[in-house]
Symmetry: C2
Subunit: 244 residues, 2 copies
Amino acid sequence: MSIALEEATTALRCRLLAGDFDPGTKLREISVAEDLGVSRTLARLAMSALEHEGLLTREPNRGSRVKRFSIKEIADAIEVRGELEAMAVRQAAERGLDAAMDARLEQILGSLEEVLAQGVTTDAMRDRWVDLNSTLHDCLVEASGNWALKVSISQMSRLPLVSPSALIFDRKDHENGHRQLVASHADHVEIVAAIRARQGHRAEARMREHAFMNARNKILNLADPETMDLARALPGGPLIRPDK
Amino acid sequence: MSIALEEATTALRCRLLAGDFDPGTKLREISVAEDLGVSRTLARLAMSALEHEGLLTREPNRGSRVKRFSIKEIADAIEVRGELEAMAVRQAAERGLDAAMDARLEQILGSLEEVLAQGVTTDAMRDRWVDLNSTLHDCLVEASGNWALKVSISQMSRLPLVSPSALIFDRKDHENGHRQLVASHADHVEIVAAIRARQGHRAEARMREHAFMNARNKILNLADPETMDLARALPGGPLIRPDK
DNA sequence: AGCCCCTATTTGGCATGCAAAATGCCCATA
DNA sequence: TATGGGCATTTTGCATGCCAAATAGGGGCT
């Protein structure tokens, strides 16, 4: 089930995250199947996968529905991811960086610095920033050497708006947006520095604050959807609703 | 019926956790199907579920194999669960207990106290202790009101030896086993007290230590399998190997 | 031994059949 | 009009058979 399943699952996941379906919609496997251009069997597999990811909920004998996320649930998930990443950098500091990872982090930080200096104004620059940012977070988790941490974080990151790639750029107040990026980059630099200095507690604290600020920005923008501009045209659509 | 899938998945999961298969064994869907007495379709669904749970790994076009857990991976997962539970009790303290949950916790603590007073010597008593212990941990997570926390913790808990129900009783040194239970119960009491007093940081710290001690006991026993006596005859078998 | 080719098995996927449950609809009744 | 009961349709849950492609396994050849 390598090629087609993965493809079908990805396609359905993208449609869900893009908000193609209203939350609460029942997904009939027949319509999903012909929608994705695959068989009922495969559609069922894909839906099962997304159910495990938490994007669908299944009621016995009644099929699956599109999960509705409340803002609180998203905020919870972001907070959990933050706590886990904080734990990751603490463990990375306690464990120490190997030479390869150290160089890799240095290179990513350099690229981020470069992008920041040029100014993150175009969509292309935004994409590049988001990519680098995601990669950096991945590396930090990797550096912890903790397998379970990686699993947990990636589970959270599959939820809408939770992933580090779901950055929000403030387009209304461009000055403000730039300030956020500068602060974010300063966090990155200090976190890596703390890890190198084996200051586990400091790395943890700074990462926790980093996550908190990021979460607050996201939630603020959720309440004011006009300014919302999700990187990679990913999530944030009808899946998330203020009610619960 | 969703009955059969759930049943087949549970059956296969139990066989995996019980160590019926050596790690690395390739699971052919045909043999799994007739082994469980279900169709190939259903066997694939069940295997897909267990793959998402992390008990199986799939290699494209080559089927799935039984995942081999190193002791480090298990220790990592236990540590992550501990951190998440610590976060849970902190949030529970910050949020406050509603009357129903407060009463429920009190009742569980009372039952645990009672069991402890009678002495946890028979298998039946051990089962009762494990049940109460699991319920208490579930309640604490529930009390946090954090949905993502519940999801993450349950994900970790599906791994062998990670669940709070995977308690280990020291049968070699009965005195030592009893001491551990007494200490564990004291932790429970103080954690609940801290939550009631809205002492988030204290609840968190104590829970982290509680988890750490529990993890250490488990890992110690892994290195000395003679004394290992997993409650509910659950996991710990061939799935876990010292190597990596 | 090393390599190649051929065969048998297995995976990945599709279409269909079927019983049971759920859904929807129509109509009778209050 | 609102309610509710009964019937037909749809949908789910699972099984079965089939097929192409990839893999694994087993000789035989050099």
